[in-house]
Amino acid sequence: MSKYILETKNLSYQYPDGTKALNNINLKIEKGKKVSFVGVNGSGKSTVFLNFNGVLKPTKGNVIYKGNEIKYNQKSLLELRKNVGIVFQDPENQLFSADVYQEVSFGAMNLKLGDTEVRRRVDEALKNVGMYDYKDKAVHFLSYGQKKRVAIADILVMNPEIIVFDEPTSSLDPQHSKQIVKIFDELNEKGITVILSTHDVELAYSWSDYIIVMKDGEIFREGTPYEIFSDDKLIHECYLEKPLILEVFENLRKSGKINCDTKIPRNKQELFEVINSCDKEGL
């Protein structure tokens, strides 16, 4: 078995109205990694995600899950959708049941599991996103952040190997964003491959193992967070922004305030450590 859990080969997608959304996408996603997709609105991130899960069928090329090419028949689609879950951007577009518990049970019921197993999974999924206390509530009484978490539980209940989040932190307050990112990390620790799209460069930089930059329906560049965000030309061409932490670090390094061979900081904590250790050396 290859180490790549999900691949696409020459994948192109054209919407029925003729809009070319994706052009020749070749991707290899490693199992158990944290992958971010960045790129402006309309660059094709969501369309790629829908292709991952078989909701959209590529016009050309194919999607490969665990080394097996997806055939678009009922059985292989069921297998793919069971293993690749998508959490949509707007929970209002995803939650269709009025009752939280029933809503979360939908995916598991579709896998034709037994009643007790469904119940166990729903309980577990709700606990994982911290919404167990709300299980008897009506969906329309929940806040946006709570709906978002229920939407995540919706997918967790199917025990997927890959979870794809479409702009998970958009319209969330900082507190809820942090909680959601914590959920991603917990999922990842369990061995689930987490893929997300985001406009938040700070999140992409500090959280991901690997970043894919999309532009105009194509993959513009892929690489580690540092490779992507240290490339000023790329940042400019793809309308991205340099993460503040990296910018501060590069500036300090340029002005000779810190050594060139220190570890590149990924988050605030690491940046402070770098600065503090340099101070000591200076004294």
Binding site: F96, S97, Y101, S105, M109
Partner: protein, 262 residues
Amino acid sequence: MISIDKLAYTSELKNVNPMEKFIFAMVTIIVCISLNNIAVSIIILLLMASITVFKGKLPLKNYIQLMSLPLAFLIMGVITIAVNVVSTNKGLIFSFSIFDIRLGCTWDSISIAARLFLKSLASVSCLYFLTLTTPIFEVLSVLRKLKVPKLFVELMGLIYRFIFVLLDTVNMIYISQNSRLGYSTYRTGLSSLGKLVTSLFLSAYKRSQNIYTAMESRCYDGEINLLENHYKRSYKNIFLIIVVELILIVISFSGNIFGGNL
């Protein structure tokens, strides 16, 4: 509508087996309508009200407010029955003439009107008992158990969920129009309202497609299967329901208790 829903979720009777509540409400309505007895109607009204308010811990104020909703319709309807075209003076309480037609109110018509009024109010109290103690999705699960066609129940569930989404959308569009003076005059108001309806339809259509996509990605295969809550059957409740209904029937047949055949 929204407040009724909220009250149902906070009711203390929420966790009682919905099937028992459903049967209780429905059988009582049938008894009430078919017996057509003033005493029975009053008893049902008081019984249902006290169960909903005291057992369900519903604020009395809310209950009275909700009860007064159908009252306006009821009174209007009942007046037309109480006041009728009359030809004789037998049993007449008062009468008046409009052109050549003589309208009046007799003891008989008053009695019919009162009977109808109380019967309707008692039936409403039965329905309120159900809706104020049972969240809608549990009513749906009862309907499913009663073998109501699946499509019908699924549609009810979806409609119920999306009423709230629709109301939210209406509210958002309305605010955005209003903040741009869309309702400043009667004319612009009408035109804005038209546009509101149009864009509401479009966004509803678009959302339905999005929902379908999201459901499809969760292995939707054309049937919405959801986990049902299991409730213990309470033999005590079933016994009580039977006793109450029997008492009501006995009361109506021993008409003499309340001074003759009302």
